[in-house]
Each structure stands twice: as C-alpha cells, then as structure tokens.
Symmetry: C2
C-alpha cells in the first residue's frame, strides 16, 4: 500500500470509526460468541500473496465485530470506564505516523519533552504539591506508564532498592537475600490485585491491611500491623494506598496514613487509577488531601479523562529514586546531552525500553476539551451515578452497599448471594446492558459503573427499568422455587 492508497483507505477508516461510534448504541453491548468462535472464520496461516484492503475491511464486520464487547456503548456499565474521545484518536494517528520510539531524549526530544510538560499540566490540574512537578529544575516529575499495574510495580521496585541500600549501609552484615526476606509491603484488603502481583514480581512479602466498615484503611489499622511486623523482625518498606478502590470506590485515609508512613520510613504510593481524574474538579479535590505525604502518585487518564488507552500518569517526588533503581547504560543508548539536568531519559522510569509518543494524546485532549470541558465530563458521570443510586433507593427490594462518591454504584437485592448471582446472570444473559460483580466482605454485589462518554440520563433510566423488571421476573420464580422446596 502506498501513500496514495493510504490517503483513500485512511479516510474510509475515519468514516468507519465515526460510524461505529455514532451508531454504537444499536449494537448489542456484549457479544453472542462462544470461546473458539474466531479460529474457524480465518485461514490456518498467513497468505503468501497480498490481499486487498477491501478483503480485509469486509472481514471487520464479519469476523471482528461479532466478538467485540462494546466498551463505548452507553449500555456498558462494567469494570470502569475506558476513555475514548475524538481528539485522542486524532493524536494517536499522529503518534503512529511519527512512529518514533522515545526511550531517550535523543531518540526523539519532542516525545520526551512534551511528556514532561504534559505531566506538569496534569499535575497542576489535580493540584499536586509542587514537589511532584518537574518544571524547570524540580526533583520530581511525571511519566506516562502503560497501566496502573506498572506504576505500582515501578514504585514498589524503587522503594525496594532504596530500603535495601539503606539497610545495607546500617547493617552491612546482612546479605541482600536476608534483607529481601524481611521486607514487607502493605495494601488495603480492598486494593487491586495488581498490588499483590507487584509484590509477587518483586519477591517481597505483602500483607493486607483490614479496611473499616466503609472499606477504607485508617491509620490505626496500618499502625497495628506495622507494630506486629516490626516486633517480629520484619522490615515494612512500602504501602500502597488506594483512592477509589475497584470494588466499591472507597478511599483510604491518607491524612492518617501519610504521617505514619513518613515517620516509619515507608514509601507511600497512591493508586488512584479511576478516581484520580475526578480531582480536577475542586469539589472532589479534598479526596486527594494527604498526597503531600506520598512518594509517588498515579492515576489513569485512560480511564476517565477521555484519553484513549494507554495513558497512566505517574508522578514521583524524587526522580532519582526511580532512576537509581534501574539505570543501566549501554553505549548505544548513551547520548551527548545525557548529563544535563534538563534531559529526561524515560526508559529509566519504566519496565519497557521502547515507548510511543503518548503525550500527544494528552496534549490534544487537554487543549481541545479544556479543563472546563473535562470537568463537565466528570460531573456528568457523577450526576448520572447519583441518578441511578436514587432509583435503587426508591425500590425497597434493593440496597446500596457502599457510599456513592464518584461514578460507581454498588447495589444488590436484599437477600442471598445466590439470588444476586442469579440477577446478574439474567442481566448479562439478556445482553441489553453489561455489568460485572464484586465481593464486599461476604456479600456478592453488583457494580454499576457509569462508563461511556455518550451515556445520558435516558440510558440510566432504561438500565434501571430493565434491571428492575428482571428482578421482578427473577423474584417470582425464585420465591416459587423456594416455596416448593
């Protein structure tokens, strides 16, 4: 395919994507296919000779779309939102066209420098303390990671290197393996599974800190496990606080936890993957109070800030902590400007070596929406979640299971877990909307997350009426069966 054909096909693809997103509401949100559906639809091996664009293009509707879960349908209420917007799509086209690999400053200075400045913009939007910004001569700064999981892992690894060096200098008789064997990381029992996974990868122990009855970790709970572990000769070194847990969007109490971590020489990382975007609204910024005690902070503009996946924003107060954990410098990656304080080589900030020009997405989205446009988006979602909450509360058969703070509503039928599992099954089998569940303590709970950029009040009403009707149908047979037994 030459540039001339790309001009033609590219424009067709733009129209296809625009059509897809404009009419997405008409597609069934969750696909009908069974596992293994795709293999029989495609050849056993790659063709020897080129096929035409038309041949490939017509297979999109035939082979791909029947197996797509439509994350941007206004009937999609599962997981958390995955951001999408037209400015971000445009930026990604440019990113692909430039096609640079920005592992170092020299590999494409614009790629590195725009990222540093965009992370400053974004940091200012959520009113991060100045220490987290790079600005002209700051010690901190931001980086785009692929996902919050990577941010947590990077923070844990940096903390691990830091504590090992510290302990080794204080107790030179200990080997690295001995120190590693005593290290303990902590996170809420409500924290995302990626925190446990980061500890698994980093080969350190991890302990759950019990959350309170609002599913938040408070200072005394952390203090208690720390005291026990220190008494047992262990070395607490890392705490991952969560703002906006995946299960129910609860918030750990930073203002209590932060001072404890600082006092105990524990790296505090804040994972605000979903909730972080809301902090651009002054009325929600208080949820981030206490960030001043943290060593690193992360949230995902690719979740809720209209920047297409992947774009997970991470900041550290001391970039030297990250770089110190990873820096290895072969000659083919060294460059002339390296020693200047102005130069950032982002490969030392992340797991992969290569990186795309992802800051273009932030640049396009922040400028074309403006802070006000993005605040409007966040506020709409939160308004809609409260609308849904209100509908649930009006129905005595249901209960709300956790405080609705942002765009997530946890709810269930008053009754057994089996009953609620049956309700979820009937919802997802009907495929008019799509939800996923969670456990809150012993309870099986339905999660209703406001996700799509284009979701409106009518979709919320529809979703509720649909759920309510399915509940009515279910309760009829359920009571009947129960009565017969």
């Amino acid at each position: 395919m030459d540039a001339a054909e790309f001009r033609k096909r590219g424009k067709e693809m733009v129209d296809y994507v625009a059509d897809y997103l404009e009419k997405i509401e008409k597609r069934q949100v969750f696909p009908d296919v069974e596992p293994g559906y795709l293999r029989p639809l495609v050849a056993d091996c790659a063709p020897q000779d080129p096929e035409s664009f038309e041949d490939v293009f017509k297979d999109i509707e035939k082979i791909i779309m029947p197996g797509v879960t439509h994350w941007h349908s206004p009937y999609f209420f599962a997981y958390f939102p995955s951001a999408s917007s037209f400015p971000a799509l445009l930026a990604d086209m440019l990113c692909g066209g430039i096609g640079c690999v920005g592992f170092s400053w020299a590999a494409s200075p614009a790629c590195t420098e725009l990222e540093t400045v965009m992370l400053d913009w974004l940091g200012k939007m959520v009113n991060l303390p100045k220490e987290f910004l790079a600005e002209k001569d700051g010690q901190g700064g931001g980086v785009i990671q692929g996902s919050a999981s990577e941010a947590t892992l990077i923070a844990l690894l940096a903390a691990r290197t830091k504590i090992i060096r510290q302990v080794q200098s204080e107790k030179p008789e200990l080997t690295e393996a001995e120190i590693m064997g005593r290290l303990v990381a902590y996170a809420s029992d409500q924290a995302h599974s990626s925190v446990e996974r980061a500890a698994l990868i980093g080969a350190v122990k991890i302990k759950s800190v019990p959350s309170d009855d609002t599913f938040s970790v408070c200072g005394s709970a952390l203090k208690k496990v720390l005291d026990e572990d220190k008494a047992a000769g262990l070395i607490p070194f890392f705490f991952c606080a969560t703002l906006g847990t995946t299960s129910c969007c609860s918030f750990d109490k930073l203002l209590e936890l932060g001072p404890i971590c600082n006092k105990e020489n524990i790296w505090m990382h804040i994972d605000a993957a979903y909730a972080g975007s809301a902090f651009i609204c002054p009325e929600f910024r208080h949820l981030l109070n206490g960030v001043e005690f943290a060593d690193s902070f992360n949230f995902n503009p690719h979740k809720w800030l209209l920047v297409n996946f992947d774009c997970s924003a991470m900041w550290v107060k001391k970039r030297s902590d990250l770089i110190g954990a990873f820096k290895l410098e072969p000659l083919y990656l060294q460059h002339h400007h390296q020693e200047s304080g102005l130069v950032t080589d982002y490969r030392h900030w992340q797991i992969p070596l290569g990186r795309r020009f992802r800051s273009l997405k932030l640049w396009f989205v922040l400028r074309m929406y403006g802070v006000k446009g993005l605040q409007e988006h966040i506020r709409k979602h939160i308004r809609l979640s409260h609308q849904f909450e209100h509908l649930v509360l009006q129905d005595e058969r249901f209960e709300i299971c956790a405080e609705v703070v942002l765009g997530l509503v946890c709810f269930r039928l008053k009754g057994s877990n089996e009953l609620n599992e049956a309700l979820l099954k009937s919802i997802n089998d009907a495929k008019k909307i799509h939800l996923v569940p969670c456990h809150l303590r012993e309870k099986f709970v339905l999660r209703f997350a406001v996700c799509s950029r284009t979701v409106e009040s009518t979709h919320i009403k529809f979703a509720w009426q649909h759920i309510s009707q399915l509940a009515t149908d279910l309760l009829k047979t359920w009571e009947h069966n129960h009565h017969q037994q």
Copy 2:
C-alpha cells in the same frame, strides 16, 4: 469535537501523516533543538476553555516537528528499525476506535482470539516447533507484549516461580528467601541491558557468559560457568540466549546451548528482538535452529516486520508456566467461560492488566503484504546492508568489525577509539544521516543499521560517500594535530 468534526479532522490528519511520510526525506533526520527547547513554546498549564483543532494542528509543525528524530527517514541508520507501514496505521485507527481493553476473554473475545490466531500465523511463518503454537488444543501459544524487555522479564519470572516450587518440594527446609539468594540467571556478555534489568527486578543474580571471537556464546562457555556456580552451591535456573545482539547482530549457538539447558533444568529464553523477523525467509531460518530446546521465544514485529510499535511477539511451550507465575483472580475479573480450555485470559501472560487490540495490526499487515511481501522487505534490507559492507571493504582506511548477517553493519576507521568517536561526532553533527555507536570488546564501533521501509540503494550510496568524505576531512586535521604533538 463530535463525530462530524472528527470525520473532517480525521481526513486532514490522514493527509498530514501521508504527507509527512511521503516527504520525510526532505526533513533533517536529527533535530537541532537543545534540551529544554519545548517548555518555553507551550503554556504553563492546560487551558481552561477548549481550543480549536486548528490551533492545535498548527502547533504540530511549530512545536513538535522541530524536536522529532525522524525514525522513518531513509537517512536514519541508528539503533534498529522501528517498523511502520500503512496497513499497520489503518489497523491502529481501528484499534483506537473500538477502544476495548482486552484483559480477559470476556472483556472482548475478538481481541483475545485474534491475538492467539495471529501468533499462530506468525509462529508458522518462522516455522516454530508445533509445541509453541496454541492451535485448538496446544499447551503452548503466543502473546503480544509491549517490548522484548517485558518478554524477557516475564520469562525470567515464570522460570523463577517454577524453580522455587521445584526446589521447595525437594528441599522443604529452605525458605523462599534462601532459594532466591542462590538463583542465578545467565546471558551473553553481548546481551541487551534489559536482561540484566530483568534480573534486577526479579531480585536474582545474573552472570555474563563470555562470548567467543564472533561475539556468540558457545556451549562450553556456558557449561564452564554453570559448573563453577553449581560447585559453589548456587542454583542456575535461567539462560537468555540472544539471536541478533544489539551491538553487532551476533548469534548465540543454540544447538550447543539448548541441550545443556535442558539437561541442567534451566529455562532457555530466546531473545531475537531484531533478527526474528528474518526467520520468515527460508534462507535465514537456519539461524533459529535449536529453538526446539527453548522454553520461550520472542521477537519484535515492531522492529522489522512492518507492524508499528508496540508489538513484541512471545511464545511459550507451556502456557501453564506463565499463568502459574502470576494468576490472581478477583471476582470482578472472573467470567463465565473462564474454565474452558479454549479461553485465554491474557492478563496472566503479562505485566500490565489492560491491553489494546494490537493483533489487528498483525492481521492487517500479514494479509496486505502477504508472506512474500514481507520476505521482500527483509531481503531488500539485507541486500542494502551488504551493499554498504561492500563499500566499506573497498576503502582501506576502514574495517568491518563483525560478520554482516542481516541488516546491521559494524564498521570503524582503522585506528584509535578517539578517532572513531570523532568520526561519529562529525557524522551526527552534520545531521545528514544518523548513526549510534557500540563497543565491541575494547573497540568503539559505528553501527550502520538499515532501518527505513523506504530506504533504497541511492540512500546507502549517499550515506557512504558522506561518511567517506567526513573521514577524509577528519583524517586530515587528525594527522595534522597528531603531527604537531
């Protein structure tokens, strides 16, 4: 921006990208900017109100392009190629439009299933042993990672988990920390820095195995360090073989190394990040002989197979080894079909949780080029590298420093490292072409990598004449200065 405006702007962006790539030759391959150039050109913080697309668009040429290293210029001969092609750009547009996050089968079945099938296609193209394929009921299979660094890390972590379980079952008296303290990973002294980094992250020792005078690791070299380490009570568990080293594209001797690893219960991972794409040509497939002994294998279609970054293809013989190392399963990620053998949840195969629909790029590229089209691309690059090699060999002032097997030529002026550093500086200061250096043993060497999709014989000739002229100029002053001293 609504869909109507996206249609208009998207088509403008298609034209911009087509223009950029069509006329890239006219741009200076390496930018003139100094560190910190970008910050003064943009605002201090994000705008409150939306800006127009036009405002953002005009800043691309004003702010971004002056700081871009043009990786797709036919005058770019640095690092290794970063793939780019029009079919891949089209697929990425579709990927962005669909915008699903394919962490599990249910999160978008097409995203998972196309990936599995495409990795089978690609595996067959390089004639991987059947055990690496997923097919309908294989135990192996492939996955798209973001980078070879991640593939190496994942392989090392899987190997670590496997050996720890094994040792614990044999010697229950050892703690995990004690076992970890004895584990050793190995790689060539020519291996990529990411292998050392993987060991650093995984908190295991790593040792360099000395390469021979062709910069390849042979069986006896590995055997020697293994015997020493075992005698010292250490536990060798992982060897990363490199096919196509970054410095000089040398090849470790798999046919000698593989049997040793198998006998010694060592996980053998093969990193063929750059070279792997060449194995689709039957005449280069012999370089992969011995892969049958490996546990995992990786190469980067985003380097040399015309699939835009990121797309690093990794295969394992036993998917259970990967999954076993990482599987954590919270309720909100569980789904109905999970236990079926047909279902792959790729989040257990990688570091991040989320993942884009990257297999679309493979699907578009493999079909629209066909195997023959891709072979042609590889063969053209290798032809051009031999053309450059030939030009170097005709000039007695220069020497070739390593066998030219694929698209990389390592060369230098006969003389001191200082002289060659000066030559590289004069090349990169002139900015007509762009190269990076490497060290081969004590020698400072210039790497000439054939990179661009559109590079032709005329560009190679130009590059050589330019280098040759700069060498003449340099030698004149150099000898003069030398004479004066």
